[in-house]
Amino acid sequence: MSLTTIAVIAALKVIVFLGAVLTGCAWATWLERKLVGHFQHRMGPSYAGPYGLLQPIADAIKLIFKEDFMPDGAEKIMYTLAPMIAFIPALLSFAVIPFGDEVTIMGQQIDLVISDLNIGILFIFAVTSLGVYGIVLAGWSSGSKYSLLGGIRSSAQMISYEIAYGLSIIGVILVAGTLSMKELVVQQASFFDWFIFRQPVGFVLFVICAIAETNRAPFDLPEAESELVAGYHTEYSSMKFAMFFIGEYANMIAVACIATTIFLGGWQGPLFPPVVWFAIKVFLFMCFYVWLRATLPRFRYDQLMNFGWKALFPLALLNTMVTALLKTIG
């Protein structure tokens, strides 16, 4: 392959994957509203198009034409930068997620991952740990009490859960002996090799911490509407608000992709092509997210902190120790 071909293929991959993810984000909002609607015996969005399927497009048009408002007391530069800082790390993590096996298109062997780094998992943790800055800065720069409280809550919450989040996958890394996402998928070829069976505690920890990291119900304290209006994005409107919104859904999809890759066998599966299996698993995980939101009430703040530090963190340490012991013994 010549250098030009490699560059063109890489560029195409980035465009196609980002397009797929952003489209997925738009229709994830539809999925959430529809599912929550049915959970609560409502219809959900149903006017725009069949089954309300065109609702995301209507929403997008509405958001673009809304007034872009900036409060008087805001720190202007950071107020503008914050949504971007929240939005970009959410998309970066998709760079190392393998969406499928190698395919041959027009005589070219193409790997369905943008970049198979040998420290793939660490890369994901590095970029997702930066997402908190967007929220914190949005809260700080808005010049509003509610926003500030939302931002402070968010930073405390993310610091607390990030430790257990990182530790939850150490078990998998110990068992697999690799940090490459692609290699992890290859090791889960048969059903019972999936890391969800080999690291069940790790999986439960991962899911709980991931929900806290993405600020989703029941851990959505930073935007608790009953006490903080809307938390860190109270003062935001128009496309700046939309960037927070899309960023949150991109983070959810990223977590679903990571869980699929690390614990649920990635693109492995019988009959259907790998990409289809990957999409099915991610879709089911997203439904699980929405299901949790519709079922569980929000935690109180001190409960959230106690749970993170006194339950999840020791459990994650214990899981790491036991896994390391078992690995050393045999």
């Binding site: 950071m78 420290i119 943790f125 740990s129 914190v136 500030l148 930073s155 990030e162």
Partner: protein
């Protein structure tokens, strides 16, 4: 060619970020410039094919420690005006002396690392994957085991100290009531 361009760009951003961090009045802006500088340094590490160290720099410093910094700044609600007209803590002579001392140290280190034969030797000693997971782990757990374990003791002391301070404040407040 591209590599050289990336190197000079990241080096420039790293230094500019560090300088801008010092000259800010606003502490939040300082933190942000420090993050920028760290990100540029991570790029430099990655250019040296030390992917692991680059990722660690982002995860540990940008992702955890500086979030805590920002948290504290926001909690105390520090703005630029808190740092104005406090009067000098150190005398002017001490300030200049310290600046000269640090600059001299800086020059010596640069000279030692970049412009002597040792630089070539250092480059030759390091393996191609010196910044990977395994080489770093091997050094940490063999050659530098004692310093590494001592660091953990240091952290433990800090944790105990933090707990003690938090407790003392609580009892003091209860006595007030």
């Amino acid at each position: 060619m591209l590599e050289v361009l990336i190197f000079y760009f990241s080096a420039l951003v790293a230094i500019a970020g560090a300088v801008l961090m010092i000259v800010q009045r606003n502490p939040v802006a300082s933190v942000l410039y420090l993050i920028l500088s760290l990100a540029a340094q991570a790029v430099l590490y990655i250019q040296l094919s030390a992917l692991f160290i680059g990722a660690l720099l982002i995860i540990v410093y940008a992702g955890a420690i500086l979030v805590l910094f920002l948290f504290v700044i926001m909690l105390l609600n520090l703005r630029g005006e808190h740092f104005e007209d406090k009067g000098p803590r150190l005398g002017r002579a001490t300030k200049y002396a310290l600046s000269v001392l640090f600059f001299a140290e800086f020059v010596v280190i640069i000279k030692e690392l970049a412009f002597t034969e040792r630089a070539g030797m250092l480059a030759a000693e390091t393996a191609a994957d010196f910044g990977g997971v395994e080489p770093v782990a091997e050094l940490l757990y063999t050659k530098y085991l004692y310093p590494f374990e001592l660091t953990s003791v240091l952290l433990l002391v800090a944790v105990v100290g933090a707990v003690l301070m938090a407790k003392r404040e609580k009892t003091a407040r209860q006595e007030d009531i």
